[in-house]
């Protein structure tokens, strides 16, 4: 089950190889020995067709919220309402103080928004191959574009939650000036890097689960339970500082643990992420994209017969 498309320009091929690299004329499909296709042409084609992924994300979002009266407001409302429920569970029922309450709410909110970003990347990415069956059977393109499109869509859904979060903490600070939650700090400059690392981690895991879903069609169902357990194991409903000594390893064994700890540091404590968090975030992003990418790309030529 292996093939390797080699491409070249049809005329004066040797000279025009680079120029025509993005507009292949002669393509050769043949078996190849390695489990991975030649990566440079694959990644080149992936990059050339990235607009397809972004437009697919845009159109999929448009289709999803076309018949909903509140439309994309649900993207914010859903995690916001869930955060309120968790807040009630964690703070009010436990008799928390008001100042501390705002801190807890802010921590739950930013944790949930970040976790939801990764979760949407993974769950919609996991379905992207099986639900894109007809497209896969009709067109030849790097299949990784489909989970990538899901990650773009997840990012577009995540973006509006940031202003909502900022609005909530500004209101909280105005109502309870003594709260620990900081105002605007220069440490916010780390946020785009952290978001990018969450996106990469989510995309890498989406590639792995999308492949699994082709072979085992109940992967997506199991993923829902898996994500719920993962949510409870992540420092969202509890603070990372609650872990001491070797227990802190739990934080770093969780692919989103260092990220959630870092976001909590920035948004709640007004501090920059520490070195351990950076190493944790980078390691998980790299591990996810390399292993998920290898698993997906080495299997993707099999998808057309498995779907």
């Amino acid at each position: 089950m292996t093939s390797a498309p080699q491409t070249s320009g049809s005329n004066n091929a040797g000279k025009s190889r680079d120029k025509n690299a993005f507009a292949p004329q002669i393509q050769v499909f043949e078996p190849h020995r390695a489990s991975l296709p030649p990566l440079i042409p694959y990644l080149r084609e992936f990059w050339r067709r990235r607009v397809f992924a972004s437009e697919l994300a845009k159109f999929t979002d448009k289709a999803e919220y076309l018949d909903s009266k509140l439309g994309k407001v649900w993207l914010v409302l859903n995690p916001l309402l869930l955060a309120m429920i968790y807040y009630l569970l964690v703070t009010v029922l436990k008799g928390g103080k008001h100042n501390n309450g705002i801190t807890t709410l802010a921590h739950i909110l930013i944790g949930l928004f970040t976790f939801y970003f990764a979760q949407t990347c993974i769950t919609s990415g996991a379905q992207s191959i099986t639900s894109g069956g007809r497209l896969i059977l009709n067109q030849a393109f790097p299949r990784a574009l489909l989970p990538y499109s899901s990650s773009i869509s997840a990012f577009q859904q995540f973006l509006p939650t940031i202003p909502v979060y900022i609005f909530v903490i500004i209101i909280g600070k105005l109502m309870y000036p003594a709260t620990q939650v900081p105002g605007i700090t220069w440490h916010f400059i780390w946020v785009p890097f952290i978001v990018a690392l969450v996106g990469i981690t989510g995309f890498g895991l989406a590639l792995a689960f999308a492949t699994m879903n082709v072979y085992f069609r109940d992967t997506n169902k199991l993923l829902q339970y898996f994500m719920r357990i993962w949510l409870y194991l992540s420092p969202i409903l509890w603070q990372p500082e609650m872990l001491h000594g070797w227990h802190r390893a739990v934080l770093y064994l969780n692919p989103l643990g260092p990220t959630l700890s870092a976001t909590s540091h920035i948004w709640i404590d007004g501090l920059a992420p520490n070195l351990a968090e950076w190493i944790g975030m980078l390691s998980w992003a790299l591990l996810s994209i390399v292993l998920g990418g290898y698993f997906f790309i080495s299997r993707e030529r099999d998808f057309a017969v498995r779907i």
Partner: protein, 280 residues
């Protein structure tokens, strides 16, 4: 992997380092192509079943399907090739491998030109989106840029001949004929060098069929190549200048469409292969 180019043919270097020669007059060259794949015989492909089987020490039941067997074929530029054969003959697998969707197990396919495909009706249209949105997505999926597909959208919509305003309505409101016409219109208006059509000519009424034939003849006059899989044998006879008959992965015959269709029809009537094909 280009190494050199000789006059009248392109010489490429494959991953296996074996030189590949592609004469300029050929659109598609298929060399000793075999396609095999394994299918899971179990009805439910779930993790739960896999774990249950593993706990009982049972192995996954797999079956190897030999969809195409040692097929060699050249398709010149500007020709229309028809493929006939019964269900399970390997026609669709062959089309998908030419499109680069299904990989060869042995042999090689060399394709010279931009490919447009209509291999599965529906082509992944999103029913909630309008026809126009789906045309844009279809064009982007086939490798066009946003500007290229936007410049063709009106032409595609006009060719699909939808009733007034339908192009901006959700595809779920379309009849199956309208759906098929839009899909066909996208495929033929991509200005492909090679057009691959699998059972796609049944879309639309008689006048749309005539329009489709006219468009395909125009493509041939522009030296573009068409490969058609169809059970409508009259279409094969009318449109194609060469035809092949495939049976259980083998190419049994190649020649003039009328002759191939005749042989195939005799096979369908009698139900057994002609004696000279029996050992294939």
């Amino acid at each position: 992997m280009v190494t050199s180019l000789s006059q009248g043919s392109a010489t490429l270097r494959s991953e296996s380092k074996a030189p590949i020669v592609m004469p300029d007059d050929l659109a598609i060259r298929i060399e000793d192509l075999s396609i095999k794949y394994k299918i899971n015989v179990d009805t439910k492909r779930t993790l739960k079943n896999a774990v249950m089987r593993a706990s009982k020490g049972e192995r996954v039941r797999m079956r190897t399907v030999e969809a195409v067997k040692h097929l060699t074929l050249d398709v010149p530029h500007g020709s229309v090739l028809g493929i006939v054969g019964a269900n399970g003959a390997g026609k669709s697998t062959l089309m998908r491998s030419i499109a680069g969707i299904l990989p060869p197990t042995e042999g090689r396919i060399i394709v010279n030109g931009k490919i447009s495909t209509l291999l599965a009706l529906g082509v992944g249209f999103n029913p909630a989106l309008s026809g126009r949105d789906n045309i844009i997505l279809g064009g982007l999926a086939s490798g066009l840029s946003r500007e290229e597909i936007e410049s063709k959208t009106d032409q595609i919509a006009e060719f699909a001949d939808l009733p007034d305003g339908f192009i901006d309505m959700p595809v779920r409101t379309y009849s199956s004929g309208m759906y098929g016409r839009v899909a066909f219109s996208v495929a033929v208006n991509m200005t492909p060098d090679i057009l691959l059509l699998d059972e796609a000519l049944s879309a639309g009424d008689a006048s749309f069929k005539e329009k489709s034939f006219t468009r395909m003849r125009e493509l041939c006059e522009e030296a573009r190549t068409i490969v058609i899989v169809s059970h409508a044998l009259a279409t094969i006879s009318e449109l194609c200048d060469t035809a092949i008959w495939m049976h259980k992965g083998n190419m049994l015959a190649k020649g003039k469409p009328e002759e191939i269709v005749d042989q195939y029809l005799k096979f369908l009537d009698v139900g057994t292969l002609p004696s000279n094909f029996e050992d294939m």
